[in-house]
Symmetry: none
Subunit: 233 residues, 2 copies
């Protein structure tokens, strides 16, 4: 087939939006109006509107109509999402197990990354995140006490460290790296994997306005997780 009719309708609508003929918030023709205009059935006109809605170009409300969306959302390069929401989005249950929650002294590499003096007091946590009955992520954090003074008093089985930290001071920056690593016997045991299973390790530093908030190391079994995304050019 040369071109599907719903595609022709989509392209027509996109042209109107790109050409600024239809602006954000404007009502676009209804399913019935498009069906008449393009001499197609309502189902075909509907498909065009539906797909544009899924692509984020239109917003549709029953009883009201279809409207040009505010602006085309750019796919952010790296997003930070919280593990509990991510698991919930898959319809699975999340459970957090606190393996460690203490004050300790930063060793040299940790202090360097946090911008603190060697041996400075930092808060340290290790939390294991379960998806249903399988460990999915081991989360280890070193937190600058300046930016999370009550960190040690939190119940991280109820609110994840990530959610807690982003709640007390808005994050302004982050950098992260992703590596493939082997893990220690302790970590392998916690994650319930074989010692030689390759793991993904995401290391992330987050900033608030006044400085580096924390250093996180997130370890996922290679067989249970992958990072991914979709790009549009």
């Amino acid at each position: 087939m040369a071109q599907a009719r719903y595609t022709a309708i989509k392209e027509h609508i996109i042209r109107q939006i790109d050409g600024r003929h239809w602006l954000a918030g404007d009502r676009v023709p209804s399913e019935n109006e498009l069906a008449v205009e393009f001499a197609v059935s309502r189902m075909t006109a509907r498909r065009a509107l539906q797909e544009l809605s899924e692509q984020g170009l239109l917003v549709r409300t029953q009883g009201l109509g279809s409207f040009v969306a505010d602006s085309r959302p750019m796919s952010s390069l790296l997003e930070i999402n919280s593990i509990d929401r991510e698991i919930a989005a898959r319809g699975h249950s999340h459970r957090a197990e606190v393996l460690c929650l203490e004050e300790c002294h930063a060793d040299h590499p940790t202090a360097l990354m946090l911008g603190l003096a060697d041996g400075a007091a930092v808060y340290h946590s290790i939390v294991l995140h379960w998806e249903n009955n399988t460990p999915l992520q081991r989360e280890e954090r070193f937190v600058n006490p300046l930016f999370g003074p009550d960190y040690l008093k939190q119940d991280f089985t109820r609110v994840t460290p990530s959610v807690y930290l982003s709640g007390i001071s808005p994050l302004t920056e982050a950098d992260q790296t992703i590596e493939a690593v082997n893990v220690s016997t302790e970590v392998a045991a916690a994650l319930q994997i074989a010692q030689d299973e390759p793991c993904l390790q995401l290391k992330r530093r987050t900033w608030c306005q006044r400085g580096i908030v924390n250093l996180a190391s997130l370890v996922y079994p290679g067989s249970r997780y992958r990072f991914g995304g979709h790009l549009n050019f």
Copy 2:
């Protein structure tokens, strides 16, 4: 309405996948089979399969059927850069070694990802990329001959496959995943690493306007490479 019928069908399929009754690569019932089983019209059964396909749980191919997709979860996103430019940016020298360049027949998973029929003719290349005197990346590609008819005639020691492909047809989309994996003895030997060294594997599919151009698998030794990025909020 209590629940839409297409939602009930979707939930049924999701249960089968979650319950490991249907595994990655398995064929799921066709539109017609679901229509009979759930006593709905084909359009309604179709909608269930279609939405699951858009959500990434199924992969559909005309004439073949609908199949369970690789189910491991995904998160976040990285950008695409070319290995030779990246090495050059570090002030190092890049060299490419062509290990394989041939026409072959796509096996089932490869065909699925490319949207081709099982056994369809595809172009296949394996190129090893060196940074100074150390192998950094093993690049394996399956290319749809439709979008790169002269692929086998190229000299990939001069122009990388990535640069060649993006030159002949502008890319419009890509999706990619990053995993931690073990590699075969052959791949370990090519990369000059120990058999048990964990590696990063980036799998990328790229689209041009008319369809899926190619499937790339990039493998990096875990000790020599990591992905990273900086975010501003």
